[in-house]
């Protein structure tokens, strides 16, 4: 399936700009500086990973982009008329309504926009088949495995056809086999729909496998430490996972990450 698709080039510098963060800072009310002087350019069609240790502000950056919190310094410039309805968000946990069926969970964003069940049905059913959950419409979340719940969560985020998908360590709690499977499926979805992804992770391997660009962040204060273009062509499949190219890229990314961690004074880090 994946092999049949036309190879897609990573978003290049010619792709139109979607969002730029300029000199963005965030200080919490308890005085902690979560982000300091962050500059970041996100282009249309990017698969951009924010990679960094705990407490480097990567989740905070994502929440700023989502509009769930406002920066205390600098600004975010969206190109054109993009608003919240163009943003999809996938949380660290599946974050489903436990009392609602799979169908109702995916319908939710449309329902909140006033789309009736009947009118939403084609879009919901299509998204469910895109994440390989056909036949599970009437199941409730507790009847699903962790990986399936995350698929529902992704379907829900994508059902409004957002232009940018924000993902906050979505696969961190899954076992490796499930994670690889979801990685592949996410890439497939991304190549078909051509949306932009900002993906927060602390896994070097995951970020290199998925992304066209990896932005490495450092902690205390949270800041952008370095950036790495992942030039390997798409589609990427299981063969890429075991290729020398992949190993070399992981090595590179890992080096940057180690430097980022060492750049933090007293480099011991705990949860945020």
């Amino acid at each position: 399936m994946i092999q049949e698709k036309v190879a897609r080039k990573p978003a290049s510098s010619e792709s139109p700009m979607l969002l730029s963060l300029r000199n963005v800072g965030k200080v919490f009310s308890n005085g902690v500086t979560a982000l300091s002087k962050v500059d970041l350019a996100i282009r249309e069609g990017d698969f951009l990973s924010l990679l960094g240790p705990s407490g480097c502000g990567k989740s905070t950056a994502l929440r700023l982009i989502a509009g769930l919190s406002t920066p205390t310094a600098g600004q975010l410039d969206w190109r054109g008329s993009i608003d919240r309805s163009n943003i999809g968000f996938v949380f660290q946990e599946p974050t489903l309504l436990p009392w609602a069926s799979v169908f109702d969970n995916v319908w939710l964003p449309l329902r909140l926009k006033g789309v009736s069940r009947a009118n939403a049905e084609p879009a919901v059913m299509e998204m469910l088949s895109r994440v390989h959950l056909n036949g599970f419409e009437t199941a409730v979340p507790r009847e699903l495995s962790g990986g399936m719940k995350m698929r529902v969560s992704i379907a829900r985020a994508m059902v409004t056809k957002p232009r940018i998908l924000l993902m906050d360590e979505p696969f961190a709690a899954l076992d490796e086999i499930t994670r690889f499977k979801l990685n592949n499926d996410l890439l497939e979805l991304w190549q078909d729909e051509r949306f932009t992804v900002v993906f927060v992770t602390h896994s070097v391997f995951e970020s290199v496998f998925l992304s066209s660009r990896v932005v490495v962040m450092a902690a205390r204060p949270g800041r952008v430490f370095g950036e790495l273009a992942i030039d390997a062509p798409y589609p990427r499949d299981e063969a890429f996972r075991t290729s020398p190219d992949y190993a070399a890229l992981c090595r590179q990314a890992s080096d940057v990450l180690v430097n980022a961690i060492n750049s933090t004074a007293g480099s011991h880090h705990d949860g945020h």
Partner: protein, 283 residues
């Protein structure tokens, strides 16, 4: 292949013992309380006979049963009066409790301002408030309803308030991201999330509304204007009609048990698909 199947089918002794134990517990759960009950009733009967206790002090169980049958007309009409007050006050407690909880959920300020008064209403004994109600309200039914309501609404209010405020933070963010209105957030997120808490409160309130109805009637019954089960008990007490007193008491107990069972069933039916409390444990 066959070897694997054979071993898979046979339970090891420890597992077999556990299964047996579980089966016994399941039977015991019903049989033991019933056996104790039968034993207690038998003992009651024997004590009456052995000690030759007169009927107006402690009637034999058979006499009580006979009274339940003979006075069925009188007792059932009284039961209906008590039931009416109980269910009306429970209904009002649900409307009032949930309504106030939703109001409180709209703003921290509203909750901070009014919640203390709800507590005051709850902790002041209803028996002490009743004389005031008696002065200000003439209608007998209204009096009783108000009493029972004061007793029953608090668990619903307090539980529902807790539930409405216990929504997962990420789910709130999700609704915010999708531009949900206040009403949508309440309708699709907070009310369903509060459901298990509300149902917990409802179970308590069901019992309390019966207690409220009976207590209110006791206090009001002193004026001899009412006709519920509580007045039957007072009346029977004056006339040394112990069998009828016991019969009325048993009816009140049975009503309480029935209310609890019905509300438990309702709760189970609503929550069975998704909430931890209603799920069978799988080992």
């Amino acid at each position: 292949m066959t070897v694997i199947e054979d071993t898979a089918l046979k339970l090891d002794p420890e597992e077999a013992r556990r299964v047996r134990q579980e089966r016994l517990e399941r039977i015991g759960k019903w049989v033991l309380p019933l056996a104790i009950m039968v034993l207690a009733i038998w003992l009651w009967d024997r004590i009456c006979v052995w000690n030759e206790i007169p009927q107006y002090i402690l009637p034999r169980p058979g006499v009580v049963l006979q009274t339940l049958h003979d006075d069925a007309g009188l007792l059932s009409s009284s039961l209906l009066v008590t039931l009416r007050i109980t269910f009306l006050s429970l209904l009002l407690a649900v409307i009032g409790g949930v309504g106030l909880a939703v109001l409180f959920a709209q703003s921290k300020w509203v909750e901070m301002s009014f919640f203390p008064f709800a507590i005051v209403l709850q902790v002041t004994p209803i028996v002490a408030i009743f004389p005031l109600i008696n002065i200000y309200i003439n209608n007998q039914t209204t009096k009783l309803l108000l009493c029972a309501w004061i007793v029953a609404f608090f668990p619903i209010l307090s539980n529902t308030t807790l539930g409405l405020n216990s929504v997962d933070r990420n789910l709130r963010d999700l609704f915010k991201l999708n531009g949900a209105t206040r009403w949508q957030q309440l309708r699709y997120l907070r009310l369903p999330a509060a459901m298990p808490y509300f149902l917990g409160g409802l179970k308590i309130a069901g019992g309390l509304s019966l207690i409220g109805a009976v207590v209110a009637e006791f206090v009001a019954g002193a004026q001899g204007q009412s006709s519920g089960l509580a007045s039957r008990i007072i009346e029977a007490g004056y006339r040394l009609n112990a069998p009828r007193l016991f019969a009325a008491l048993i009816l009140i107990s049975l009503t309480g048990i029935l209310i609890f069972l019905v509300l438990s069933l309702v709760s189970h039916l609503i929550l069975r698909r998704w909430h931890e409390s209603a799920l069978k444990q799988e080992r």
